[in-house]
Symmetry: C2
Subunit: 267 residues, 2 copies
């Protein structure tokens, strides 16, 4: 099977023009088939504040009300997605941006307040949990040597756009495409990998098995914010993705070559 | 050659939720291959005002400064484009939204202040004049029975997004695709067609030749705001597009069947 990279970039890169420019240059230089998944950074919060739309957060998660859905659609699928695409084009990488509604690429359903993900019966608003990733369109674009740039907006096939976690989109897309390609999934963010000491970038765990992960969680040695990302990483590696790496966005080439970051292992 | 419809919708439909819902239902029902080109309506002006970004207009044309470019990118390529796509999906029409940067679909260059289009040496800012429409990607999507939804944002292939007139995008796209398809171009807007009396919707000119157009212009009987649209329409009909119709968005089916609107004739 042909190799395909699914690369997620974290919000801190989006928020920093210089870092983003450098990252996109590196991404453009990655050989072969590739998908970039981006989140949103602080731009949505900033825009909401400028527009006077109050943001409700519960346990660090944004509640997506109707006005906030408009903002995330504008910022994620518009401003960020199209700027990334234009910059990749400027770096000689033919790229194309999609949200989940485009070509029905990623279909989801609105998370109910009684869903297991709606912890404690919280209604997260216009938030979508992924049902299916349609690979045929993605395959046809990849076959044209087009790099796909995915914004974290999905739809329910009934006319509703839904805000969806970008780590989850990366995981679901990687899983779905692993039936066709040899997929490597890279979660790039501000840290050098999964750290034993959150304040020490040299404490990177080089490989993480499910048993070790369980141990670290029980010892409360995993930073709470990492748990959803790691759950996504294990879901990917357990469902056909051949390699999952978590590490620093500034070291994309080293993450790809296996010389940096944390490898997620499914044994 | 297979028939293809390129349909432009005007801003007044975008501004009116109910009209947009009805239009998209009609568009979804159009049989065969189709491209929808949308403008922006009043949303950009509203957003700019909410964000406190002053809009400079010269002769009714917006000057696109750096902050305004961000807003048009968000609103056109994000909010409007993705809502149209999601609604079409909800109507059973598999649609996919693109801006010109996506897959390098529409390449343009920044209009110089000394360009003939920069009347009187006006610098319109981040405005792009179209150089090329790349048909191979569009063709591959159309072959997958995907309706394409084009936002009026292009790029210069050097990393710069540019604001581009939606009527021009419709014209350039129709022209480029007429080498592959039998293209009919429909400009739908708030009027029933080209009117002899701007206040009388029954005064529709059923067909307009270049000579008649010249006459009407000399007699100042063409509303100034219609002239760029008509220039676009004649450019299309003179360059391979088989049929150009101008008329009311609410009568899309009648425009297609030839029972409404103004036909632009190249003899």
């Amino acid at each position: 099977m042909e190799k395909l990279y699914v690369i997620k970039i974290g919000g801190n890169i989006i928020d920093d023009d210089q870092k983003l420019v450098a990252f996109l240059k590196d991404f453009a230089a990655v050989k072969g088939l590739k998908v970039l998944v981006h989140g949103g950074g602080k731009l949505v919060t900033k825009m909401a504040s400028q527009l006077g739309i109050e943001q409700q957060m519960i346990d660090g998660r944004r509640i997506t009300d109707a006005e906030t859905l408009k903002i995330v659609t504008m910022v994620y699928a518009g401003l960020i997605n199209k700027n990334i695409v234009a910059q990749l084009q400027g770096n000689g990488c033919n790229a194309l941006g999609l949200c989940g509604a485009d070509g029905n690429t990623i279909q989801s359903h609105k998370r109910g307040s009684n869903s297991p993900l709606g912890v404690g019966g919280i209604d997260y608003g216009f938030v979508g949990d992924v049902d299916t990733v349609n690979t045929s369109l993605l395959q046809s674009l990849l076959a044209q040597q087009i790099a796909i740039v995915l914004a974290p907006i999905t739809h329910d096939l009934n006319g509703l756009l839904l805000n969806t976690n970008a780590d989850t989109i990366a995981q679901e897309t990687a899983k779905a495409l692993s039936t066709i390609y040899n997929v490597e999934l890279i979660y790039s963010f501000e840290k050098a990998g999964v750290l034993l000491d959150i304040n020490d970038d040299t404490s990177v765990i080089s490989s993480l098995t499910p048993i070790y992960y369980q141990e670290l969680k029980e010892q409360h040695r995993i930073f709470a914010g990492m748990i959803p990302k790691l759950d996504n990483a294990f879901a990917a590696i357990n469902n056909g993705v051949s390699k999952v790496i978590i590490g620093k966005a500034e070291q994309l080439q080293e993450l790809i070559s296996g010389n940096s970051g944390t490898a997620i292992i499914n044994v």
